[in-house]
Each structure stands twice: as structure tokens, then as C-alpha cells.
């Protein structure tokens, strides 16, 4: 595979991996604060 494309895909994967881990952690109560319904 093209080297530049490879680096692009690896970065995209890393970024979404970090985001998914953070989203999962944020669902643990009190980890990132209480979840709200956004109706503030």
C-alpha cells in the first residue's frame, strides 16, 4: 500500500480508537461527570 495512505489510515484509526475509548470511559458514572440530557 502507498506509504502516505498507510500513515493516513493508521492515524485515522488511532484517533478514532482514542475517541471510542474516551466515549466508553465517559459512560462510566462519575468518570467524566454526570451525563446530562443537554437541555440546559
Amino acid at each position: 500500500m502507498n506509504f502516505a495512505l498507510e500513515l493516513f489510515l493508521i492515524s485515522l484509526g488511532m484517533i478514532y480508537l482514542i475517541v471510542i475509548i474516551a466515549e466508553l470511559l465517559s459512560r462510566i458514572p462519575k468518570f467524566f461527570g454526570e451525563k446530562t440530557d443537554g437541555s440546559d
Partner: protein, 496 residues
Amino acid sequence: MNTVLVLVILYNLIVIGGIGYYLARREKASGQVVDMATGGRNANLAMFSVTLAITYLGSAHVYGLMEMSFALGAVALWFSFAHTILMCVICLGTGPWVRRLGCATIPELIGRMYGRQMRTITACIGAMVVFGLVTLETQTLGIGISAISGWALGWAAVVGAAFGVAYVTLGGIKQTMWVNLVNAVVMYGSIIIAGIYLAFVLPEGWEGVRQHYVANDEEFKLSVLGTPDLLVGFSLAAVFSVVFSQSVNQQGMAAAMSAKNEKVIRRSLWIAAPVNGMFGVFPVLCGLAAATIPEFAALGPKLAGATLVVTLLPTWLVVLLQAGFLGALLSTFAMSALAPATIFAKDIVGANVKGGLSPVAEKKLIQRVILIIGVLAALLTFFNHPNVILAITWLFAWLAPLFFILIAGLFWKRNTSVAFTVVISAWVCNCAWSIGPIKAQIVSVLPGSAVLENAHITAIVAFVLTVVLYSISNNNKPALFSDQYQNDLNEKGMAR
């Protein structure tokens, strides 16, 4: 004057002037004064995500990553991943918290937790730190304009500051958000085209770049994991300093406070994280490619990547790229200039005027302060050009202790004396670590501490003191997000 410079300036005049004119007309028609710092708190998902992402794309991303990847290889991408983690902390943590409490500045939030004196102290330090960042952003704007025009850095910085002030003075954060949206499209369009274009104009394409590193036994430079030493020494340090210092920085919080609601902030993570993180791939590729071509490699890490872009790409693409890069730098400058002006108007003047300032008076004051900040930053940058990365790291160190007293005050407990002791101790240690002879004395006693930067020192001191002092302190108030505090509030409400 060369064609690239004329076209880049023309692009910025049209975008900044056009959007400023449109927003001014809309404000006049509605007859309402839009808050410069919060933009009326109605930023939607697209505007908020892009603004948050581009606010944290500054000089270090554009020029720093080319330089870092030239020397270290693809492991430099961890600087981008550190910013992805930062986006997670802001979108899922600090951003929704400040939005929920309806604050406009970090000192205001600190003041709500720990009282007026703490608000003034953090406002003074916060304004000083962000003003320092403005002077550095002025310098990098100057570097960008100087690279295109060939002008002396001092004069190029003056022109950059003038554009930056115009960028934000016309309409505050609302103006900045609209311009960001346009710049993001141009910037990403141009770097994707440039990445594809380079595959055809590099002497042996991207595969040739890979072959060069394999042949020279430097295959580790092709991997984002680099070597174990680089992973600990560079990647971990980048994550550490970026996350602790930037997650409570006024620029990011200013964006969060302008969001429509908490849901927008939380959802924006899925857009802000890739928009911010993926930007780094292009400069890293340029740095890696430049190091393999003797003609560019001979120029050294600072200039090789930038020269490769200008030399190998056609003029129209260089114009688009430079316009996008300049847009990213201008956005960071704009948010950095808006931050101390907001802190000054709201926390230093507004908080100490009976009844606060009227919206019109506050807007005028913010505009004047931005103008003064721009002039001072241009003046300082005209004569002084410090090392940008070192100076930014030093400035970040001042903000790290705020992160810990903020978390404690939101979720654990509040005690003004403890918070005061934590920040003052961390800041005294920061000053001591900045003085060569004192640092040398400490290093002679503790040789392992030689690798620690100022941001590490303040974060470690603040973390340890926060945990120890809160554990032994008495007469604490409940944390703002604790059940006890909510119950107290409800009882007070019922008593009325």
C-alpha cells in the same frame, strides 16, 4: 510583491472582510448586541466542532511537525494524538462542565468555587499566560508571511498582527467561528490535493521515501510507535504537557462557552478530534519526504519541509495551502487575543464594577483591549524572536495547577486556603525551575530530575499538594457537582 503573497492576502481580505460585513449587517438588523466572548451561546455542531479543532491547530502543528518529523520520524504524530486526547477531555469533561455552570471565563469558574480573590489571582496569571501566547502566535504569523514574501520577520509579524486583530475585532467569537468554517474547507481540500500531488512529483513517489528509510536502516522513522525511547521521551511528554495545560486554557473554554448546549459539545468530539488530529499527517509526510531528498535535507529541519512544499507544488496549490495555513495561524491568534481581552473585561473590570458592565460597554472594552494587545504583541515581536516551542511549553506550565484545583472543586471538595496554597506553591516552583542556578542545584541533588520540564514540575507539585492538603484539611465546602451541594441548593430554593 510576489503573486502568492498577493493572492493569499486577497483571499484573507475577502473572507474576513466579507464575513465581518455580513455579521455586522445582521447584528444591526436584529438590533441586539452579540456578546463578543460567547457569541450569544448558540454555536451549532459544525461551527463549534471546527472552531474547537482549529483553535488548537497553531504554529506547532504547521511548522513544528515538519521539523519534528524530519528529525524523529512518524512518531511526531503523537503530538497530534496528544491533541486528540485533549479534544476528548474538553468535549467530555471540562467543556460541558463550564457550559453547565454558564461561566464565560476560567477565572470566573475558579471564582465561583473559591471566591473573588482567587478569581482575581487566576485572572492576572491567565491573562499574562495568554498574552504570552499571543506574542508567540504573532511571531509565527510573521514566519508564515515572511516565508511567502521574503520580508524581514519583524515587519511580517506587524502585518500578521494587523490581520489577526481585524479577524477577531469585527465580530468576536462569532466572526472567528464563521471564518474558521471557510478556512477548514480550504485547508483540508488543499492538503488532501497536495498529498496526492506530491506522490507524482516526488522523485520516486511515496514508495521512494519508504525505500530510503529502509535502505538507511531507519525503518523506525516510518512507524508511529518509533522506538521505546522515543515513545516515552517524546510521546508521553507530549501527552502530559498538552492535556494538563491546554484542557483548562481560556481559548478552548471560550469555544465551549459559546456552544448551544452540552449535547453539542459532547457530540462535537466525533468531528473535532479527526479534524484536529488528521491535520498533522500532511506536515509529518512533508518532513519525512524532505529528509530523503538531499536538496531539501541540506536546508536543515526548520526549512526543509516548507521549502519542499513551495518548490514541488504548482503556484495555485501553494496559494491554497498557504491561505489555509495562514487561516489556522490567524484563528489561533484570534482566539488567543480574545481570551485575555475577555478576562480583562469580565474578571478584572466587570467583576469589580457595581452591577457589571453593560453589553455595549463590555463589547467596546473587549475591542479596545484586543487592539492594544495586537499593538503590544506586534511591538514585542518586532524586536524579539524567542524559540516558540520552548516559550509555549514554559507558558503552559502556569496553567497546569488550575486543572487540579478545578477537578477537586467540581467533584471532590472545595477549600480556598488549599486551592491558594496549591497554585502559589506550583507557581513558585515554576519560577525556581526557570532560574538556571537553582535548577542546577536541585539537579545536582536529584540527577533524575534533569529531564523534567516546567510543565511536569508544576503538574507534579499541584497534583501531590491537591491530594495531600485536601486529605488533611477541615472546614471544606461540598464540590459543585456533588449531591450535597445540589441538596443544599434545593433546600435554599425551598426556603425562599
